[in-house]
């Protein structure tokens, strides 16, 4: 690359409200076509929109989580265009007074923190879906998605590589998930991005001519489309040609993009204030309630885990994968008093089990207090590691109390020294070959005898105690023989 790449993203995210943004229809994915519709979201004559307050809360919550300034006075606007997926032939969106503006999100690039500016976040309604049926004459429209609340997050052109674009998208996704604003299911289209990209000579202030790549619906597609587009523009410039300002469509299967329309064909959306809705005036109390509902965000948590809890950076990344796991970790660590053990248990047991399960449930199956108390039992030597796993298995997916269960399952470590000595003596007596091996200097024999003794004690003995008794007896035996 002989030029600097400049990228800005427009990220569309569907909000996780129960109902649509202007009517009471359910906001859910995957229902039979046109079964989640009503006269309002179908834009039938005489119907009026009523703004969903939860959608406003979510938009503002996303804005606060991304360090935006929140407008005390906002309004909705009409964006006019004809297309069969838009019932009213205008989209209710926000033009000059969005809910949020001037924020930022930090990303980690090669160990360095880089700040990406957010220009604005506004609320709007999603459109329906056109299904081009190859067997039918023409196209079919499904309006279930029509009126689903969306936020559009517009970044500043602050990214300098396709990788930064992907990292930014990841960071935004993480924030939206942590705040519960969106489920960010990219395969269902609930998070998608447009990539604006231009090139300029290194050191030049002025931006080059940009292109806009529409509707990229995976993190990989964002990065790949940006790489491909940067190469395409570089080739054009190298060949002495100029870049056309245009909108392009990315074909993820072919790995290339196609021109949709140029600047000359750009639409005039004729924005004007939506007269069917009143302006939204946000007072301090409303804002404070939203602010209070924002959990600690993944970036801050990762720093805390590494710096205050001594967790390796890689592990901290895994532990903050979802807010459910991060909350589980923090609670378990606090309950058992040992973050490192909590981390090991979660990565070794919980994440493994969740991976093995079908589906995409985010529920770890246990809360941090109970997980922490199991870890605590092991840490304090009250049960063995093996018993701990057995206990965890029994508790998962139930609301059973591990402290009660540990007695019922009779897992507590046996500390009666007489019983341990009896077991060790019996094992030594029954395994003369092992004794012989030991005497012949084969270290493995000790392990075998340990296992036998633990088995005899039903796994409930303290392995340390068994080991020291065994070693003492062997020494005795040795000495006695000589």
């Amino acid at each position: 690359m002989n030029h600097e790449i400049v990228i800005g993203l427009e990220i569309h995210s569907e909000l996780r409200t129960r109902s649509k943004v202007f009517c009471g229809c359910a906001n859910e994915y995957g229902a039979e076509p046109n079964t989640r519709t009503c006269p309002v979201c179908l834009g039938m004559p005489g119907t009026l929109p009523v703004l969903n307050r939860q959608a406003v809360d979510f938009a503002v919550k996303a804005g606060l989580a991304m360090n935006c300034t929140i407008s005390g006075f906002s309004k909705m606007d009409r964006k006019n265009y004809f297309y069969p997926d838009m019932c009213k032939a205008y989209q209710i969106s926000q033009f000059d007074l969005p809910f949020c503006r001037d924020g930022y999100v930090d990303i980690e690039v090669d160990g360095q923190t880089k700040r990406i500016g957010i220009e604005r976040i506004h609320l709007e309604e999603d459109a329906g879906k056109l299904n081009h049926d190859p067997y039918a004459q023409g196209s079919l429209v499904d309006y279930n998605r029509c009126g689903v609340p969306l936020i559009e997050i517009v970044s500043r052109p602050d990214m300098r590589s396709p990788e930064e674009a992907r990292l930014f998208m990841e960071a935004v996704k993480e924030i939206l998930e942590y705040t519960g604003v969106s489920d960010c299911k990219m395969q269902e289209g609930s998070l998608r991005a447009d990539v604006n990209l231009s090139l300029r000579p290194f050191g030049q202030e002025k931006l080059g001519t940009r292109t806009e790549m529409k509707n990229l619906n995976s993190l990989r597609a964002v990065q790949r489309a940006a790489v491909t587009e940067a190469e395409r523009q570089e080739a054009l410039i190298t060949a002495g040609k100029t870049i056309t300002q245009e909108t392009r469509r990315w074909d993820d299967n072919k790995g290339e993009s196609f021109s949709m329309r140029s600047k000359e064909e750009a639409m005039d959306y004729r924005y004007f204030p939506e007269p069917d809705l009143v302006p939204v005036v946000m007072d301090e109390g409303w804002l404070a309630r939203i602010r209070e509902s924002i959990p600690e965000l993944p970036q801050a948590r990762r720093a805390k885990y590494v710096q205050e809890m001594g967790i390796p950076a890689y592990d901290a990344g895994l532990l903050t994968g979802t807010i459910q796991i991060a909350d589980l970790f923090e609670q378990a660590a606090m309950t058992c008093g040992n973050p490192k053990s909590a981390s090991n248990w979660i990565m070794g047991e919980i994440l493994r089990q969740m991976k093995e399960q079908e589906g995409d449930s985010l529920d770890p199956g246990i809360d941090g207090i109970r997980l922490g108390s199991i870890i605590g039992l092991v840490e304090r030597g009250e049960i063995t590691q093996a018993s701990g796993k057995k206990l965890l298995e029994a508790v998962m997916g139930t609301d059973a109390d591990p402290v009660v269960l540990v007695e019922r399952m009779n897992l507590r470590i046996q500390r009666d020294e007489g019983a341990v000595i009896d077991a060790v003596v019996l094992v030594m007596k029954n395994n003369p070959q092992a004794i012989a091996d030991f005497q012949a200097g084969k270290g493995k024999a000790v392990g075998f005898l340990m296992g036998q003794a633990m088995g005899l004690l039903k796994g409930k003995a303290d392995p340390g105690q068994v080991k020291s008794v065994l070693e003492a007896k062997l020494k005795e035996f040795d000495g006695g023989a000589s």
Binding site: M44, P45, G46, L48, V50, C87, A89, P275, D276
Partner: protein
């Protein structure tokens, strides 16, 4: 003994309550009369005898069970831009011919709950765009005072139905004068309430920030009764005001003693017909005679009202009417071969000339490059007009003005010159731009015997006071009854006659 169609709502209600007549009898009398006169007046687009008789029987049952309100059993009709579940709602447009909504407008369900009886759906200018009711796909409405004259618009069907005795009351909608102008032309009482006083849910939108539903009736008291029923907050309409409205009927006869009436200079200027000026001044004298005071005032920005109104209403209309694309409901062209052609042909065939003109005007006003010079500037004018009115209300309770520069003119007389037609709205549009309530009450006849109305403009949510003043005028001048309603229904003499002689009115 007067015939049933000559009785005002409040008298019909008394007879119904006293079991002197039955609800079915009242409904049937009106249906019979509609069957006789609809062809002359053309005020109905749909007549719904089955709905009417069904609702009349239900109303009777309620009255017999002691569960009746003031409007139970009273026949009425809706302008055809208010959605009625199961009954065609056409907006007088080919585009919505055959469109049957699966929902009721809030006013429709409110009145249904009050027990009214729907006679049918009333003619109007297509999508409420027009001042004469000549822009209807279903033909023009004729003025019951003179069938050669226009009814006024866009709620021409509503005004003519009341004037002809074809509905005791009707609902109309008013975006720039659409209740008040036909009320004035047809000699009935009409009220455009404060913006937000009556729910717009289910009213097919023309210009959302200006549209307002209101009543038309033969007298002021009936208007007050209907307003008490339909005003109120509706959670389905975000622009409906969350206020508790005062009863309009309770102190209707309180009089105007001590009230101050303002005469805005701008409303009595050049171009105002002499008969109208005299009739309006007569109404002012009547108010003064009852203890009110009057004085001159000014609404300077009002002279820009027409321009601002036609830009803003057309801009909103261009978006509101974009949904009629042939994809989901209404007319769809049979000849289209691709998507763009489907839009083009459907809209080309479905909309009438005036509607297309306004869509083009509005689209232009919002287009990039013109948006600031046209749309934004019109918004500023709107704000100025609002502020002018508020200033005028610092010294006056109510402003008095004519409704229109002329009385009802001949059908076809002004259709050739749309700009001339738009100027007819000069006294009405500013009220919508400012969101104010305004009442029109008949106050005289011109030299041709056509009715003249006076417009009373009030502060936001002062409907009660406006009605008190209207009542004072009506009490003094009497009601004006069209020859069609006064007679037995004969249309032999198309020239208007009044309940009073010309001399009495002009005195």
């Amino acid at each position: 003994m007067k015939e049933l169609h000559e009785l005002p709502v409040h008298e019909l209600a008394g007879l119904l309550a006293d079991r002197k007549i039955g609800a079915r009898e009242v409904a049937q009398a009106h249906l019979d009369r509609i069957a006789l006169l609809q062809q002359d007046v053309n005020c109905y687009i749909s007549i719904t005898p089955e709905v009417a008789l069904g609702q009349a029987d239900a109303a009777q049952k309620r009255m017999d069970g002691g569960d009746a309100g003031p409007l139970t059993g009273i026949p009425m009709a809706f302008k055809d831009n208010m959605c009625t579940k199961g009954v065609q709602t056409s907006c007088a447009s080919r585009m919505l011919e055959g469109f049957v909504p699966p929902y009721n407008a809030t006013v429709v369900s409110t009145l249904q709950k009050a027990g009214t009886v729907m006679l049918g759906k009333l003619n109007m200018d297509e999508f409420a765009m027009g001042s004469t009711n000549e822009n209807s796909y279903f033909g023009p409405v004729r003025n019951p005072w003179n069938l050669e004259r226009v009814s006024g618009g866009s709620s021409g069907g509503s005004a003519a139905a009341v004037a002809a005795g074809l509905a005791p009351f009707a609902l109309g909608s008013d975006t720039g004068g659409s209740i008040r102008l036909p009320a004035s032309f047809c000699g009935v009482v009409g009220m455009k309430p404060t913006y937000g006083a009556v729910s717009r849910f289910g009213l097919v939108a023309f210009a959302s920030s200006l549209d307002q539903i209101g009543p038309l009736a033969s007298n002021v008291r009936d208007c007050a009764w209907v307003l008490d029923a339909i005003m109120g907050h509706d959670p389905m309409d975000s622009t409906s005001a969350p206020v508790k409205h005062e009863s309009c009927t309770a102190e209707l006869d309180a009089g105007v003693k001590g009230m101050s009436f303002g005469l805005a200079r701008e409303y009595f200027g050049e171009g105002l017909n002499g008969d109208i000026r005299k009739a309006v001044m007569k109404a002012v004298q009547v108010l003064e005679a009852q203890g009110a005071v009057s004085g001159e005032c000014s609404v300077p920005a009002a002279e820009f009202g027409i321009s601002a109104y036609y830009l803003l209403s057309s801009a909103e209309a261009s978006a509101n009417l974009a949904r009629y694309d042939g994809i989901r409901f209404g007319h769809r062209s049979a000849d289209a071969t691709d998507m763009k052609e489907l839009y083009r042909l459907t809209r080309g065939e479905g909309f009438g000339r005036e509607v297309k003109t306004r869509i083009l005007l509005g689209t232009y006003a919002l287009s990039s490059g013109y948006h600031d010079a046209l749309y934004v500037k019109a918004l500023k004018v709107r704000r100025m007009i609002h502020d002018d009115f508020i200033r005028a209300f610092e010294t006056h309770d109510i402003l008095v003005s004519p409704v229109s520069p002329t009385t009802a003119f001949r059908l076809g007389e002004k259709t050739a010159d749309p700009l001339q037609m738009y100027l007819g709205d000069v006294y009405t549009v500013a009220v919508n731009l400012a969101g104010l309530p305004a009442l029109v009450v008949p106050c005289g006849l011109d030299s041709d015997g056509m009715p003249i109305g006076v417009q009373l403009i009030g502060k936001p949510f002062s409907e009660k006071k406006l009605l008190q003043a209207g009542q004072a005028i009506e009490q003094a001048l009497g009601r004006f009854v069209s020859p069609m309603a006064a007679g037995t229904g004969s249309t032999a003499n198309p020239v208007g006659q009044c309940g009073k002689t010309e001399e009495e009115v002009r005195a």
